[in-house]
């Protein structure tokens, strides 16, 4: 049954046959069955999202909105969806917030360890991609993370999309999440080869805003992350097209707001009463 090829076990290789599978997906199957029968399962915090990225003349620009939802409710108006992977690699996440966070964290740690073992050589985007997609493939789409991965390494700028089932595409411009159609329409209309940094930033910000304004699942602000040979520039809340219509009530009051009617000063000695301690009882 199991044939081997050098160090690779061909039959156990992808870890999905029942004998050598490291994970049991039976419960996922059971849950989807009882959901089909009408039971309401608990809802996860989702990032109904617009995320995207473009490659330009000498780098990559990533973008994301900042809305996080729980069903129809906005759970967080200003969350961060551009995750750190390595100093030269960042990753936008859409799908279940916990899954995108856990998956990107795991790969970030693995690459950090890998750099310790390789004299601190700069991580490659393809390594991050392979780690992400093999993790997602292993869970057969049950880890719901849809990602836009971007970075700059020895081979230049890179941009990839990764789907929850573990497939990936290499593209000059990419969008993901519920607002991906709105964002893609902006890219298809405005993308040019070899754009300047400013042109690329504007295009990405416009694509995210298209999602923010036209997609229910996306909203609030625009985050950008520019990665070049020189390093990264993380522009948190690069644009805030949805300011609060009224100022939030401040809970700190100026001194003297409340009139002082009477004041008494006590020294500590007057308050604390010293008492002799009882001797401890010893024996029966």
């Amino acid at each position: 049954m199991s044939s081997s090829y050098g160090d690779i076990n061909v039959s156990g290789g992808i870890g999905l046959d029942s004998e050598s599978a490291p994970f049991n997906l039976e419960l996922a199957r059971r849950n989807s069955m009882i959901e089909r029968q009408g039971m309401k399962l608990p809802r996860y915090l989702k990032t109904g999202t617009t995320i995207c990225g473009v490659v330009y003349a000498n780098g990559v620009v990533l973008g994301a909105d900042t809305r996080s939802t729980n069903g129809d409710t906005v759970a967080d108006k200003n969350c961060e969806k551009i995750h750190y992977i390595a100093p030269n690699i960042y990753c936008c996440g859409a799908g279940t917030a916990a899954d995108t966070e856990a998956t990107t964290n795991m790969v970030a740690s693995a690459l950090n360890m890998h750099r310790y073992g390789t004299n601190g050589r700069t991580s490659r985007v393809i390594t991050a991609l392979t780690m992400l997609k093999s993790h997602l493939f292993k869970y057969q789409g049950n880890v719901s993370a849809a990602l836009v991965l971007g970075g700059f390494d020895i081979n230049g700028p890179h941009l990839f999309t990764v789907y929850p089932h573990g497939s990936s595409d290499s593209l000059p411009y990419a969008t993901m999440g519920s607002g991906s159609l709105a964002a893609m329409s902006i890219f298809e209309a405005g993308y040019k080869e070899n754009m300047t940094k400013e042109e690329a930033m504007k295009l990405v910000a416009d694509a995210i805003k298209s999602g923010v304004f036209n997609d229910l699942g996306s909203g609030s602000n625009v985050d950008l992350c520019i990665i070049t040979k020189e390093g990264k520039e993380y522009l948190r809340n690069y644009e805030c097209p949805n300011p609060r219509p009224y100022a939030s009530q401040s809970f700190s009051f100026a001194k003297g707001t409340t009139p002082v009617l009477r004041s008494t000063m006590l020294t500590l000695k007057d308050v604390v009463v010293e008492e002799g301690a009882d001797a401890m009882e010893v024996g029966a």
């Binding site: 061909v10 999905l16 997602l136 493939f137 849809a146 999309t161 595409d169």
Partner: protein, 227 residues
């Protein structure tokens, strides 16, 4: 769970007098959305062999990643380029040993062995089948071109004949199959190396029969009316 990404596809591979010509459309879809309109389904497995992918993108990418890894090991061990039948055999082995885990995906392996001066085309669907063929077609669009291919295929075509056979077959499938489209990608592998070609846009994608004639008739009529 969301729709799995699938390469609803047309793929064609043909052996000719001096090598092989392989081709694919470029459409990748998630449900009704085209998630990549210019993808490359012709994945290199070694310096001389390619995998044509159709079906689940995740499954076929995994298979090609594993086979590429094993080809590297094999070539390091033997210190010579791998044979195309061996590459096809590795794809078959993974497909056979994981037949329960991988969803139905049809893959074609094609390449040219410089040592034996021989082109090879293999159909390798998941499950463990591996059949050498003179030409092979697969993917959702292939059902529309069985007739075309059966009537147009000839043994020992020239390179030019083989390239236009493949390009026209794919263009024909793209015009009828909703899940195939975009551009036509062609790869020719022979003694002189690997040659990539691309048919993009209305002008260079071949058109066929009625569609072509109706279009010409209409433009002729329009021109006549203007003058």
């Amino acid at each position: 769970m969301p729709h799995a990404v699938s390469t609803g596809t047309t793929i064609v591979a043909v052996e000719y007098a001096g090598g092989v010509v392989i081709g694919a459309d470029s459409r990748v879809s998630t449900g009704t959305y085209i998630s990549n309109r210019a993808s490359d389904k012709i994945t290199p497995l070694s310096d001389n062999a390619f995998l044509l992918r159709s079906g689940s993108a995740a499954d076929t990418q995994l298979v090609s990643d594993y086979v590429r890894h094993m080809v590297h090991q094999h070539e390091s061990q033997l210190q010579r380029p791998i044979d195309v039948p061996t590459v096809a055999n590795l794809v078959m082995q993974i497909g056979y040993n994981n037949k329960n885990a991988l969803s139905a995906a049809a893959m074609l392996v094609a390449g040219y062995d410089a040592a034996t001066r021989q082109g090879h085309v293999y159909a390798v669907p998941i499950g463990g089948t591996m059949v050498r063929q003179k030409y092979a077609i697969d993917g959702s669009g292939s059902i529309f071109i069985y007739g075309y291919c059966d009537s147009e295929y000839k043994d020992d075509m020239t390179r030019e004949e083989a390239e236009s056979f493949v390009a026209e077959a794919i263009a024909l499938a793209m015009s009828t199959d909703g899940s195939s489209g975009g551009v036509v990608r062609l790869v020719t592998v022979n003694e002189d190396g690997i040659f990539r070609r691309l048919h993009a846009g209305d002008k260079s994608v071949p058109r066929f029969g009625e569609e072509k004639d109706v279009h010409k008739d209409l433009t002729d009529k329009a021109n006549a009316m203007q003058t």
